[in-house]
Amino acid sequence: TGIFGNTQQKTLQVLYDGAAGRLGFSTGGCT
């Protein structure tokens, strides 16, 4: 299994919408 790890997630806003079964990404999430 491939893994998208936390180094590559830095500064992205990662959004888990478990009820809708979707995962969101947005750049510049911390600032």
Binding site: G2, G5, G21, G24, T27
Partner: protein, 418 residues
């Protein structure tokens, strides 16, 4: 042509690759509801930073990261024995003194537990389910943690879960182990691939995320026998998909909706938000898939990778053969070897002006930037199902050991079907 070239490269000051020794908070979502600051476990923004003697070296972090990945593979293999070539003994023989499955490159949040609440710094982990913390009286063993160890007897809202309770049986899927029973109290046990573990009473108490977000009767593990370094944290906050995970337990309130931003460096801060209050309008969605061997993981479908604006020629089957997950606790992304080979080749080609350095553990593409004040390197994007392109931030391209050993922060699995 030059403009096109620059558009697809990052240019940064070399000095910015190393974290500052001073904390510079950067999170924006803290004014929103149910939002907690996220800090790197060993950075200057962390309360655990005081324990400097136990900060692992970059090479040790990578070793611990391998332990975590092996543990994930072991977990998948355990659920469906024979479905993988993973040698479980390989994972089981990793030394616990190297830390734990939670690894070292992890991020922590501080939550309150009990009444009155006691603050606990927990590693937040989308790759596991049960939340646990070390508990007094530590009947068998507790490792050293920075916060005072949670004392159930001092909480007016604490209660143990009975062995006959239906939620006791839910531990089997959340931990991979059948629950035990001691004096009518349900006993949980979670063991990780490197032999570290937490065992204790399954209990419930009030969980305080923020002063206005208080959750009663939160089910968690009250650890009486815990081994592993866990970096001085008080335990683990399980954000997986099992019904005992925090998102599932709080589903009525937050609809299994949470988001986070991991800071750009250990000297900055991010956030973890529950509920949809922190969602950016520019967010792009891909579908969460289910990994048949491990339904508590968040499965994702990687469809492609670009380097310097050019999409790599990788057959779709390379990504679909083994599937993929997103995990907040794994430091380095692992790719099918065919995909990693293509990424490495393209990256090296576009970095040919810089001297290479010795490999670092699992990282084989490293550079010596010691003679440069600024460097430029190709932008990398990941593509997910639904045509979603996610540009990796400049700080997400490299894993930095020192300025003379700055490594491409990706690694290959041993087999495309991993």
């Amino acid at each position: 042509a030059e403009s096109h070239h620059l558009q697809h490269r990052h240019t940064i000051q070399v000095s910015s690759l190393l974290p500052s020794s001073v904390c510079s908070p950067a999170a924006q979502a803290l004014d929103k509801k149910a939002s907690l600051p996220v800090v790197h476990k060993h950075g200057p923004c962390s309360r655990l930073h005081q324990d400097k003697a136990n900060i692992p070296t970059p090479a040790e972090v990578l070793l611990q990261d391998e332990a975590r990945v092996k543990s994930i593979r072991s977990k998948l293999a355990k659920i469906y024995p024979g479905s993988s070539n993973v040698e479980e003994t390989d994972a089981a023989t990793l030394p616990a003194k190297d830390g734990s499955v939670v690894g070292s490159g992890n991020y922590i949040v501080t939550v309150g537990l009990g009444t009155p609440k006691k603050d606990l710094s927990l590693i937040f982990d989308t790759g596991s389910d049960i939340t646990w913390t070390q508990c007094q009286p530590c009947v068998r063993s507790c490792y050293k943690q920075q916060d005072p160890i949670f004392s159930p007897s001092q909480s007016s809202t604490y209660s143990n879960i009975s062995c006959t309770s239906t939620v006791c049986n839910s531990l089997a899927s959340a931990t991979g182990n059948s629950p035990g029973c001691s004096s009518s109290t349900c006993v949980y046990a979670i063991q990780y691939g490197d032999s570290s573990f937490s065992v204790g009473f399954f209990a419930k108490d009030t969980l305080t995320l923020t002063p206005s977000d208080v959750y009663n009767d939160f089910l968690f593990g009250c650890g009486q026998n815990n081994r592993g370094l866990f970096g001085g944290s008080a335990g683990l906050l399980g954000l997986g998909r099992d019904k005992l995970s925090l998102p599932s337990q709080t589903a009525l309130k937050y609809k299994k909706f949470f988001s986070y931003c991991l800071p750009s460096s250990a000297s900055s801060t991010g956030f973890l938000t529950f509920g949809d209050g922190g969602a950016s309008k520019s967010i792009k969605f891909t579908t969460l898939s289910t990994i048949s061997q491990g339904s508590s993981f968040y499965g994702i479908d990687i469809t492609g990778i670009s380097v310097g604006g050019q999409k790599l020629s990788i057959a779709a089957s390379v990504f679909t053969a083994g599937g993929a997950i997103i995990d907040s606790g794994t430091v380095i992304s692992r790719l099918p070897p065919t995909a990693y080979a293509a990424l490495k080749s393209a990256f090296r080609k576009q970095m040919s002006q810089y001297p290479m350095a010795q490999p670092l553990s699992i990282l084989d593409t490293c550079y010596d930037f010691s003679k440069y004040s600024s460097v430029s390197f190709p932008k990398i994007s990941f593509f997910f199902s639904g045509g979603v392109e996610v540009p990796i931030a400049a700080k997400g391209v490299f894993y930095v050991s020192s300025i003379s050993q700055v490594c491409l922060g990706f690694a290959g699995n041993s087999d495309d079907s991993d």
